[in-house]
C-alpha cells in the first residue's frame, strides 16, 4: 500500500485528533436525534406498568408522582391514577430487601379503599423456576388456587403473610422465602399508602 503515514509525533496527534473529532461529532448528532425516542420509550414502559395495575385512567400519573423515602434510602413512588378529577387507583412502586438474593421491585395497584387491583413484578434476581413464579403465582386464574391470590384482597383486612407463618396467602411451592419477600413488599406499600390516605393529603 502506497502512502503509508510515518509514525511521527505530529502525524499521530493529528490522526487521533481527527478520528476522535469525527467520532464525537457523529455520536453527538445521533444522541440529539435519539434523545426523544429514548425518553418516550422509557415513559411508555413506566406507563405500561402503571396501566397494568390500576383501573382505566385519563391523567398522566407520572406528573403527579409523589414519593416517600424508606429507611434504606430507597424511594417508594406513588402514581395516582385519575379519571376526570376522581381518584380511581394508585400505583405504588415498592420494594423489599428480604428476597432470596437482593432487591425485588414490584408495582402494586391499590383501589381507593385499599384493596389490591393488580400487581406486576418489575425487577428481581430470584431463582429461575422458583422465585420467578411470583410474576403469576399471586394472581391465579384457577379458582382452586384462590388462596394464593392477592387480587381484590385488602392487606388491612386479610393477613398478608404466608400460610406457613399463620397468614392467609399460600406461598409459592418450594419458594417460601421469595413469597415472604413479595408479601413484605406489598405490605410496605399498603402501610405507606394508608398513611397518605388517612393523612388526607391526596
Amino acid at each position: 500500500m502506497a502512502g503509508k503515514k510515518e509514525s511521527t509525533f505530529i502525524n499521530m496527534v493529528l490522526v487521533l485528533l481527527i478520528v476522535t473529532l469525527v467520532a464525537s461529532a457523529a455520536l453527538g448528532g445521533l444522541y440529539e436525534l435519539t434523545k426523544e425516542p429514548i425518553a418516550a420509550a422509557k415513559l411508555a414502559k413506566k406507563l405500561k406498568a402503571i396501566k397494568e395495575v390500576v383501573p382505566e385512567f385519563d391523567n398522566n400519573p407520572s406528573e403527579e408522582m409523589y414519593s416517600v423515602e424508606m429507611p434504606t434510602g430507597d424511594l417508594l413512588e406513588f402514581y395516582p391514577a385519575k379519571k376526570g378529577d376522581e381518584l380511581v387507583g394508585t400505583a405504588v412502586k415498592t420494594f423489599t430487601t428480604n428476597g432470596f438474593s437482593g432487591y425485588i421491585w414490584i408495582m402494586v395497584g391499590f383501589k381507593p379503599d385499599g384493596t389490591i387491583n393488580n400487581y406486576s413484578v418489575l425487577e428481581h434476581k430470584e431463582t429461575p423456576g422458583l422465585g420467578t413464579k411470583m410474576a403469576d403465582w399471586f394472581k391465579p386464574t384457577d379458582p382452586a388456587k384462590a388462596k394464593a391470590s392477592v387480587i381484590n384482597k385488602n392487606p388491612g383486612k386479610t393477613n398478608f403473610t404466608v400460610s406457613k407463618d399463620g397468614g392467609d396467602i399460600d406461598a409459592i411451592t418450594a419458594a417460601t422465602i421469595s413469597s415472604r419477600a413479595f408479601l413484605d413488599a406489598v405490605q410496605t406499600a399498603y402501610k405507606e399508602y394508608n398513611k397518605k390516605m388517612e393523612g388526607g393529603n391526596k
Partner: protein, 194 residues
C-alpha cells in the same frame, strides 16, 4: 480468494464461534433465547460491516503506532450508535441484551477483523468480510439460543412447543450455555471431519 469464497468462509470454515472461538462473552451471555441471539448477532454484524468499511478506507492514513487506539475509537462509535438506536426504537430487546450491547466494543471478532482483514484489504472485500463474519456470528448465536430456548423453556423464537414445566432450567442459566456450546462445537467438528 474470490468474493464467493470470502463470503462463505464466515459461516463454516472460519466461523467466529465454532472455529475461531472468538467472542465467547456475548455468545455465552445473551443466548438464553433464539431472539436474543439473533438480535445480538445482527447488532454485531452491523458494527462489523461499518467498522470494516471505515477502517479499510482510512487505514492507509493511520500511522502504525496509533492503529489500535484509532480502530477502537471507530468501533466504539458504531457500538454506541447501535446502543442509542436500539434504546430508542427497540427498547424491549435493548433491555434484554443489557450490558452486552456496549460490550460489543471488546468483542474480539470486531477488532480481530479490523486488524487482520480490513486494514490490509480494499473496500469491497472488507465489506464482504464484515457481512460474512457478522452473519456467521449471528447464525451461531441464533443456533445456540434456539437450542437453549428449546430445552430450557420449551419454546422456539417465543413459540411454545411443549409445556414449560418440562423445560430444563439449567439451559436458561449460565452452566447450560457452556454445556450447549460444548456439544454444539463437538457436533460441528464431527460433521466437519466426516
Amino acid at each position: 480468494m474470490t468474493h464467493k469464497e470470502n463470503f462463505l468462509k464466515g459461516f463454516f470454515k472460519e466461523n467466529a464461534v465454532f472455529t475461531l472461538l472468538l467472542g465467547m462473552c456475548p455468545t455465552l451471555g445473551v443466548t438464553s433465547s433464539a431472539i436474543n441471539g439473533l438480535g445480538m448477532g445482527l447488532a454485531t454484524t452491523f458494527v462489523l460491516i461499518m467498522s470494516n468499511l471505515v477502517i479499510s478506507l482510512v487505514s492507509s492514513q493511520i500511522p502504525d503506532k496509533v492503529k489500535i487506539p484509532s480502530f477502537i475509537v471507530i468501533i466504539a462509535s458504531f457500538v454506541t450508535m447501535v446502543d442509542l438506536v436500539m434504546a430508542g426504537y427497540v427498547p424491549a430487546l435493548h433491555e434484554q441484551l443489557g450490558v452486552f450491547i456496549p460490550l460489543i466494543v471488546v468483542n474480539c471478532v470486531v477488532l480481530g477483523r479490523a486488524e487482520a482483514f480490513a486494514s490490509k484489504n480494499k473496500l469491497v472485500p472488507s465489506i464482504i468480510d464484515g457481512v460474512s463474519m457478522g452473519l456467521g456470528f449471528a447464525m451461531a448465536l441464533t443456533m445456540l439460543g434456539a437450542i437453549r430456548e428449546f430445552f430450557g423453556s420449551g419454546k422456539m423464537f417465543g413459540v411454545t412447543l411443549f409445556n414449560e414445566t418440562y423445560g430444563m432450567l439449567v439451559f436458561v442459566l449460565a452452566p447450560g450455555a457452556f454445556i450447549a456450546l460444548g456439544y454444539l462445537i463437538a457436533f460441528i467438528n464431527r460433521v466437519r471431519k466426516a
